[in-house]
Point group: C2
Chain length 249, copies 2
């Protein structure tokens, strides 16, 4: 039972919150923030812990404050597909839905800012800024999901790996607000198997393609999880995207 293993985290001011400007609360004014402050509580999870099982009753919604979580679907015979990669500021849960549709797992140590579902839903009705921001975030997620569908349906294994690295580099850069230079280092928060679940591949294929990209000089490895990208443009070419996704000027 996840609830028994998790640690409680002490209260923190919304004003200092690292995700204040990107999360569901991004648009809130001071009054609204005070109201949210009443509702919120933190929960934290260790790397590897399951936050929610698909099919479980879920009576909260939450924002990822720090760490990374995944959304996965599993078929009866065990085939798994990741359907969401949740980075800080991303939202978990669906207003109006009691039952979780996906497994949510903490890939790294994870802190979430939670709201009980009912009060949050009431707040959505009363304060339009939360609902507005949630719509915007959901539309962004839908765009990301569609990008991901192109990857899953049509890209080669090599392109899939390159695309994943590009995606992580991009989100990483936008989070740390630094302009991605042409040389940059990406901390890969996923095991090979998790990457495989993301990309619709086997872990062996992931490993082979990473080796191939390394052999061809597209990336360098610093340990297993740290990846250096000497030439971002080159990586983006390998990803097969028609645009650079606005990563370069």
């Amino acid at each position: 039972m996840a609830a028994l293993q998790e640690k409680q985290v002490q209260h923190q001011e919304c004003g200092d919150c690292p995700i204040r400007h990107r999360a569901v609360c991004a648009r809130c004014d001071t009054d609204e923030l005070v109201a949210l402050e009443q509702l919120k509580y933190y929960r934290s999870f260790q790397a590897g812990q399951t936050v929610i099982w698909s099919g479980d009753r879920m009576d909260f919604v939450a924002s990822v404050v720090s760490g990374i979580a995944t959304l996965t679907q599993t078929m009866e015979d065990g085939r798994r597909q990741m359907v969401g990669l949740l980075l800080p500021s991303d939202f978990v849960g669906r207003p109006g839905r009691m039952i979780a549709s996906y497994d949510v797992t903490a890939t790294t140590d994870l802190v979430m800012c939670c709201f009980r579902r009912k009060p949050f839903e009431d707040m959505m009705v009363k304060t339009p800024h939360v609902a507005q921001r949630l719509l915007e975030m959901t539309l962004d997620e839908l765009d990301a999901a569609r990008e991901w569908m192109l990857l899953l349906g049509r890209k080669t294994a090599r392109e899939k790996i390159a695309s994943l690295l590009a995606i992580i580099a991009r989100r990483d850069a936008s989070l740390h607000l630094r302009q991605p230079s042409s040389q940059l280092t990406v901390d890969l928060p996923l095991t090979r198997e998790e990457m495989a679940d993301y990309l619709g591949l086997t872990l062996e294929t992931v490993s082979r393609q990473i080796s191939a990209l390394k052999r061809d000089g597209v990336i360098r490895l610093e340990g297993k999880r740290q990846i250096v990208i000497p030439d971002l443009r080159r990586l983006l070419e390998e990803a097969g995207d028609d645009s650079d996704g606005g990563m370069l000027a």
Copy 2:
């Protein structure tokens, strides 16, 4: 130029609208409906016509009133992936975005109920019911996209075909409000190539797998596009889903 080929359609009362209870306007009260009625105009397209090209400026949003449209992404070398299948009541376009992200194509003759983007956005701010319904619809689409990701990433060609038939049967049934019986007929609005673009396959593989399902008695063909499903449960098994998606009692 699509705009030159399309026909204008005469005005129609929202009260009589076939998608009144499912579209973005579903939650609107009488006053709000009057306001929307002012804004709306119909456009229709012939089967095969392109509604919007990805990258084009798009200064309207719309609901599909009748017919079917697709959202597709294309890579430089021509690989195509369908990322959305728009049936009546589905919404096209994104408030707050000028530029279309996907190609939108009419697969059958198509009628859309359009709103110029700016007035629609103003309306969203003023009347929460439109924004609320749009959030709900977007969340549903996101769920559908995630289901689709599992299909693209992990299902076999045979399972993909069975899943597609199940999806169309389900949406068809919910639109016509009839309980799917164990024997039912599905009108397939897609060519083999379009099915392939949906499923991340080639058209040859689609054709082969349809033949295989026919050979094995899972489906029967009535012409090329009409498909009879003698035993829905059997089809759902073939689709590899762990649940029946609520189609059977």
